[in-house]
Symmetry: C2
Subunit: 401 residues, 2 copies
């Protein structure tokens, strides 16, 4: 299942950024599973990676390479996460960089590797390596849609976002992402690759990435499980000739956020087993931490999520989640709870104006907003999540088999 | 579903403690749903209550009454939690104390009320009050099994534990509990009532309760949802004439822990949709907090829980959970992971000796132990949990309807 329309939008090419794919048969013969991305000379690159201590081998290598030089190629495979693979995994990830470096005549530390798929299996290196020249030969600025398909795992649809802004000369921003389960990114998502033809120096680019990521990939959860392989990469090729400086930075970040939020929401719309797209908005909190604590406690409550799947306005479970979020001196009589625009609860109880019929009606749409007003401060945060359905259990009971 | 045998053991009566039940029709006509318990003069009573800020009206009243006097009666209903009911809920809980106080000729603050069931509905007071004289008239030292049945909600079986210890004159301890979903007690369980005929002064009794509770009800999770109504009550009637002092305290607590752990594990064995009983043991941790952080992150991971339900030794998901538990400077190469006695992973990867066949075999039993050695300290903790199955989703999508 999945929610929303789910077609890829028009994917504007980004001059200076090419993508090529291959079917290496890493897990499933014949499926697109390997992507090489080429970054033009003079580009800047910023990246954020999972905080999981058991981070995958390619994450370790990609972080080290990004710290030492400006990357020229990104190498992505699906079907195998190369995580929980110890020394052999590190050696395999390095070897894939070595081989692609030889094919493309760059240094191996100019290549960042990324993997997604099953954890704990060794990478079938022979198959992966055979795919590299094929993917490299297919490099094209038009490769976004193919690449979006080639990085998926349990996802049911490709995920992309793209926009152009500016008067006269325009800046283009285009990105793809993947992810459906094991989704609670902590500084990054499963995998996300975004390129722009703006010219942005490395320090500004990293700031922009952090700002956009914080309000997008760091605001989603399917199942509270942070992956071992999360990474998001932002490339600025500069090909548009438009330079981003402190003056134009805010608009650049605003546009970038639009792309990032589109991508992050696409993951939630395709969340494993999802039949609802749920926005949890917490307002009137003392600070961001408090708003997020309440929002995530609601968004990750199995009882709230099963009620959402049943379209049951079981607001008692939402109150119970708010109550256990660990807030200091929470006055429950000040809390107001809305489902979409319907006031459900206030003064510690069902609202006088509330009817079960209104609650039932509010729960019918595919898109649901749960809004909590704590009425004790000025901070507001939004987290996006899914419901919990039979299909989530089926998918995760069957995956690997 | 549920795991293990599930019959009530022999429930030894506790002299000085009586239980009486009635069918008040609070939610379902005809079912046993009301319990009155009588505490003999001279007893001591200790209690622990939910930390949920949205605690139910009866929790608020019970805490206040317990602080002001020694209780003479406990009043428990199932079918309606009287939570999320605001001022009316408090007034209803007080009225139920008033009426029982009149029937039994005690003061209303000598009565502790407890409720469990659906959140957010007003209590049907007429039906509850009509049941009170019936339950009071049925008071008997033999009432444990009936009471164990009358406090259940989505539970599929009654839960009790009972033992006697000592040479010559014996001390008896008997208790009942309920709970199946919304289970992650924070200082208490859904509801637990334990009585002993030992003579224990109030301060010692409270210490004993805290110690036993910490290693039992505070070590279980079905779905990470802390209820609004959790409470556990320990009564010492003194009828055995055996006085517990500092010297005999440790043995008393050890025996009490046995009863409490039996009760807490019974909740997990009857966890909503449970097909596995899972012990998560974390050893070699720096301290208790760290051991519990890892244990709960594993025990509450939807991905680990669905794999357990599928009997799939998907150890990569367990490593991923350990990795996101927030430990400082975790050296993943030091971590060892066992399923029952099978070493699954070490040095950040699958163990050399491990075979998929051995993993599959280890996952077949109903009782599974996941053991993690962090190898960086001396602390060990155990948490008990269930798997996540279709039936959990079904039960919680259907409950309320």
């Amino acid at each position: 299942m999945a929610t929303g329309k789910g077609q890829l939008p028009t994917m504007h090419p980004v001059t200076g950024f090419k993508l090529g794919i291959a079917s290496a048969g890493i897990k499933t013969p014949g499926r697109k599973d390997l992507v090489v991305m080429e970054i033009a000379e003079g580009s800047t690159v910023a990246g954020l990676f999972t905080q999981n201590a058991f981070c995958a081998a390619p994450v370790t290598i990609a972080k080290a390479h990004l710290a030492s030089t400006t990357p020229k190629y990104l190498l992505v495979n699906t079907g195998n996460a190369n995580a929980g693979t110890g020394e052999q995994g590190l050696s395999d990830a390095l070897q894939s960089c070595d081989v692609l470096a030889a094919i493309t005549s760059v240094k191996k530390d100019q290549i960042l590797p990324f993997s997604t798929g099953v954890i704990g299996e060794l990478m079938p290196m022979d198959r992966l390596l055979k795919g590299l020249p094929i993917a490299a030969a297919a490099l094209s600025q038009e490769g976004w849609a193919d690449a979006a398909a080639a990085i998926l795992t349990t996802d049911t649809r490709a995920k992309g976002a793209s926009l152009q802004y500016g008067k006269g000369s325009k800046i283009t921003m285009t990105g793809i992402t993947k992810g459906s389960g094991m989704i609670k990114p902590n500084m990054a998502t499963m995998l996300g690759f975004v390129a722009t033809d703006a010219a942005v120096d490395a320090e500004l680019l990293h700031r922009a990435l952090r700002l956009a990521n914080e309000k997008s990939f760091n605001r989603i959860t399917v199942d509270s499980d942070t992956s071992t392989n999360d990474a998001v990469i932002l490339v600025a090729t500069g090909a548009s000739g438009i330079i981003i400086n402190e003056e134009s930075f805010d608009q650049f970040v605003a546009e970038l956020k639009t792309v990032f939020i589109d991508l992050a929401q696409a993951i939630i719309r395709d969340g494993e087993g999802a039949s609802k797209f749920v926005s949890v908005v917490v307002e009137g909190a003392v600070d961001t931490d408090e708003a997020l604590a309440v929002a995530y406690t609601i968004a990750e409550s199995p009882l709230v999520k099963t009620a959402l799947g049943a379209s049951d306005p079981n607001w008692g479970r939402i109150l119970a989640a708010i109550g256990r979020a660990g807030l200091t001196n929470l006055d429950v009589n000040e809390v107001q709870l809305y489902l979409n625009s319907v006031l459900i609860a206030e003064n510690g109880a069902r609202a006088a104006s509330y009817t079960e019929g209104a609650g039932q009606t509010a729960m019918q749409p595919e898109d649901i907003e749960i809004r909590v007003s704590l009425n004790r401060g000025q901070a507001t945060e939004t987290v996006w999540t899914t419901d919990l359905t039979y299909d989530y259990v089926r998918i995760n009971a069957e995956y690997r088999t």
